[in-house]
């Protein structure tokens, strides 16, 4: 910041002028903080009301503090099974979708082949289709082939893999485009074949992107309601459970589970950030 360019004040500016200058200088900061407040408000409410002690069925108004619902989070019929189903489907569909999506990304970035444009369109389309249409079309498939598919756990799994794949492709693709191809060429020059090159060079370089894609996919799976609801049949994931119970009254235990998911996700995000900072520092030390 230079001071030379600033005009020399002729008279002491009045209080109003100074206040206005202060507002002008910090207006953007204040606005930014207000928007952050707006973003955080519902999260704070969710966590706060997990500690509420409602008298009666409705958990709308703050009535008193208790940790009872955290200690007995599964006291509501069906909530435990729903959470377990969500976790199982999240893990399974993420692993499968990450594998399939990574392979597609490698093919798109690293190989010349006929039909690349078609691949891109096929990957892009599910992401740009509204969830309700994705869910509805899958449901018509399952309804028309009742001899093959029964609505339940596996139809949810199929649906989740389908919508996660595209996100994995996009995430891994971005990483592949970014990194140095010479490393792979060097490995090939040194006599490694394609498979060895993949195992020893490409895969380790891709692992962080695959992890990021997997986490994103898991989060998407855990959170999905629309597609799941249409294709769940009698099976209940956590969001489907919440939808059912929201028509009656939402017990604080639902807030407990949501808060726990939120806090774990934040912990993973922070852990990842710290790990990256450490890795960057180690890298710097090594090159210094």
């Amino acid at each position: 910041m230079t001071t030379a360019a600033e005009p020399i004040p002729r008279a002491r500016p009045g209080t109003a002028t100074r206040a206005w200058a202060l507002v002008k200088r910090h207006a953007l900061t204040v606005y930014a903080l207000l928007v952050v407040g707006y973003l955080m408000l519902p999260i704070a409410v969710v966590i706060l009301f997990s500690f509420n002690d409602p008298r009666g069925r409705f958990n709308y108004v703050w009535q008193g503090f208790t940790i009872e619902h955290w200690l007995e989070w599964d006291a509501v019929l069906g909530i435990r099974d729903a959470v377990i189903t969500s976790l199982q489907i999240g893990l399974l569909s993420t692993v499968v979708a990450t594998a399939l999506g990574t392979l597609i990304a490698i093919a798109i970035v690293r190989h010349e082949y006929r039909g690349r444009a078609t691949t891109n369109v096929l990957v892009f389309l599910p992401m740009s289709t509204p969830e309700i249409v994705l869910g509805a079309s899958l449901l018509t498939l399952f309804l028309n082939l009742t001899s093959v598919f029964t609505l339940g756990f596996w139809t949810i799994f199929i649906a989740h893999v389908m919508f996660i794949i595209s996100f994995v492709v996009v995430t891994v693709k971005a990483r592949l485009i970014g990194f140095d191809r010479h490393l792979e060429e060097a490995a090939m020059d040194l006599g490694a074949n394609e498979w060895t090159t993949f195992r020893k060079v490409t895969f380790p370089l891709l692992a962080p992107a695959m992890l990021a894609a997997g986490l994103l996919g898991f989060a998407l799976s855990l959170d999905d309601f629309v597609i799941t609801y249409l294709n769940a049949g009698p099976e209940q994931t956590f969001p489907v459970f919440v939808w059912g119970i929201a028509r009656v009254a939402v017990p604080p235990q639902v807030n407990v589970v949501a808060s726990a998911i939120f806090l774990i996700a934040i912990a993973i995000a922070l852990g990842n950030a710290i790990w990256q900072i450490r890795a960057a520092r180690r890298q710097r030390e090594r090159t210094a």
Partner: protein, 285 residues
Amino acid sequence: MGGFLHRHKGLTPYLLLGPGLAWLAVFFLIPLGFLAYQSLQSGIYPNLEFTWAFSNFPDAISDYREQLVRSFLYAGISTVLALVLAYPLVYWIAFRAGPWRNLFLLFIVAPLFVTYLIRTLAWLNILADEGPVVGFLRGIHVLGEGEGLLFTTLAVVAGITYNFFPFMALPLYVSLEQIDARLLEAAKDLYASPVQAFLRVTLPLSAPGIVAGTLLTFIPAAGDFINAELLGTPKQQMVGNVIQAKFLESLDYPTAAALSFVLMAAILASLLVYARIVGTEKLTG
């Protein structure tokens, strides 16, 4: 395995693509075909018959025109609101937040870590008649004594805006963060005022982010039904509510399928209009 791949190099990309694309073909493309087939049937489950009932489409449009218009109106307003809310925040993060950048990015994605349905339900607490917001607005006489915010158009639009905000903010951030600070210094050296520098350097360079954010917000918003269901009344119902109810409650699959296609076609049409305005190359990246 290595030897095989080495001998059939041309085959490798197809082997890599095979499983993933097969999954997308069987569980995305083929279902769209089934949806099309279903949309031309007549009757109500289980008495459905394929009759080339093209009339399902005009019937669905005229019966649910109100909900269709509402979907696009709400989605449009929410997208603009999200842009107006997100741009200054993201600009601040990219250029002013310094070491706090990553923390504030975490704030942007944090709502996504709370289950969608539950963060929508949280607005029930916030906007409740007994809650602080309504109390304050009644206090300053913006709302009359008997008036509230819940189960209104405002609540639904606010819910949609909140829920899709991160999808607007993140691509915006990516495009703003890539702007070379030296360009802004150059603008300043050439005597551009801060406003001119913003309008002629920053804003055009962030256009790809605006386009991506708009698409990522508008498309899911137009198909949403959760906000209208939880924060609105039948008067705020969107086309998503109709599709969902027809599939799961009244078992009127043909109308639901026809409406799904109408929704997709309307979204595509609005994307084309948008592409005309902003230029095609920005849409495809």
